[in-house]
Amino acid sequence: MDLISFYVKEVGQRLPATSREDIEKEIRTLIEDTLEDESGAQGRPVDQAMIVDVLKRLGSPQKMAARYLPERYLIGPRLFPQYVTVLKIVLAIVSVLAVTGFAVTAGLSSTAGISFAEMLGKVIGGLMQAVFQAAAIVTLVFAVLEYFQPDLKLSEENWNPLDMKPQPEEERVSLVGGMLAVIFTIIAAIVFNFYPEWIGVSNFVNGQWLHTPVLSETFFRYLPFINILWAAEIVKEIVVMARGRWTNPIRWADVFINLFTAVLAAIMLTGPSVVALDPAGLNRMGWGSLDAEAVNGLMTAAQMGARVTLGIIMGLSLMEMGKGLYRIITERRMLATA
C-alpha cells in the first residue's frame, strides 16, 4: 500500500464508522490537491520525499483524527473532582473491610499446611480483586451520570444565587454523598445477588476458601423485593443529584421507599428466620466437628443478630420516613405563609 493510502486508513480507523468513508475520501483528494500544487511549484514530479513532506504538515494520524472528533469524556471536568473523592472513600472503605475480613478469617483458619507467605499472597490477591471491582463500579456509575449530564446542566442554567441560602444539613444535596449511597447500594446488591456465599462463615483451609452460607432459603424469597427497593433507592439518589435539590415528588418517593423498607423488615423480622446454619456445612469448615449444643448456640446467636439488624433497619426507615413527612408538611406551611 502506498504512503497516502496508509495514512488515510490510519486516520479513518480512529473515526466513527458513520463518517469514516467520507472523511477518508476527502483527505485523500486534499492530499492529492496539495501534491499537485507542490509538484507544479517545484517543477518536478511527485516523489516520496514530497509525499512525506505533505503528510508531515498534516500531522500524525492520531492528531488528525482527533481534530475531526468532538471532545468526549468518560468522566468530564465537572464530575472529575467528585469522582476522585468518591473513589478515594470507596477504596479506603473497601480496603479496610477486605483486610479486616481476611485477617479475621485468617486468624480463625487452621493454618496447618500453609505458609505465611502463601496466606499473605491470598490476602493481597483478594484485596486487589475487591479494590478493582469497587473502582470499576465507581467509574461505571460516574460514566452513567456523565452520559446524562444534559439534565445536570439544565439544573445549572436555572441556578439562582438565592438558593445558596444556608440549608439544614438534611436539605443539602451532596454529589459525593449521593454517589457513595448509590455505589454501596450497588455493591450490596451485587454481593447479595451474586456472591451470597460470602455472607456467612468463611475459612481458609489448605490454600482454599470454604464458605458456609448463613442466609436461609426464606431470605432469598424476599430478595426480589429487596432488589426493587435498592433499585428505587438508586433511581431516587440519581434524580436528586441531577436536580440538585429535593423536590416534593422526590420526597414522597423517599417516604414510600422508607415505608416499604420498614414493612419488609417487619415481615422478615416476624416470619421464619432469614438466617440458618447448616450443621453439616459447619463441620466441613475445618474446625473439627461441633457438637449439637455448639451448633445450636451459634444458630441462636446468628438469628438474634439478624433480628436485631432487621429491627434497626425498621427503626431507621420509620425515622427517615417521619423526617420526610415532617419536611413535606413544614414546607407546605412555609409556602402557605409566604
Binding site: K25, L30, D33, D37, R57, K63, M64, R67, Y68
Partner: protein, 129 residues
C-alpha cells in the same frame, strides 16, 4: 522552551475563534479544502491544513456551511460554501469582533513598554489592510 509552548498555546487559543470568522467570511463562494487554504494564505492568513479541514467539517455540522462533492476533470472534490444560517450569523459575529477590537485595543495601550507597543500596533495595521 516551556515559555515557547505556553506562548504557542495562548496564540492558538486567541486564533481558534477567529479562524471560524475568517473561514465564514471567505466562503461566500464555494471552495474546496485546499483552495480555501490557498485563498486565506494569499490574504495573509496562514492556517494549518490539519486545522482547516476539520474546521470546515465542524462548521458544516453546525449548519454554518454546506457542502457537496463535485466531479471535476482530475478528481472529485468536496466544496464548501456558507449556508443560509451562516449568512445570518456572520454579521452578528462580525459586529461582536468589531466591538471586542474597539474595547481591547485601548486596554492594551497601557502597556508599560512603549517600544513593543509601537511595534505591535504597527504590525496589526499591516494585517488588517
Amino acid at each position: 522552551m516551556e515559555q515557547d509552548m505556553l506562548v504557542d498555546n495562548l496564540v492558538q487559543e486567541l486564533r481558534r475563534g477567529l479562524m471560524t470568522l475568517a473561514v465564514l467570511g471567505q466562503l461566500q463562494e464555494a471552495q474546496y479544502g485546499y483552495s480555501a487554504m490557498k485563498l486565506l494564505a494569499d490574504k495573509g492568513l496562514d492556517i494549518d491544513q490539519g486545522t482547516l479541514y476539520p474546521l470546515l467539517r465542524r462548521l458544516e455540522s453546525q449548519g454554518l456551511l454546506q457542502s457537496d462533492w463535485r466531479i471535476e476533470e482530475t478528481r472529485p472534490r468536496r466544496y464548501y460554501v456558507i449556508s443560509e444560517r451562516g449568512r445570518k450569523i456572520l454579521p452578528v459575529l462580525r459586529e461582536e469582533w468589531k466591538k471586542l477590537m474597539e474595547t481591547i485595543e485601548p486596554l492594551l495601550m497601557g502597556d508599560p513598554i512603549p517600544g513593543e507597543r509601537a511595534a505591535e500596533s504597527g504590525s496589526e495595521e499591516d494585517g488588517s489592510h
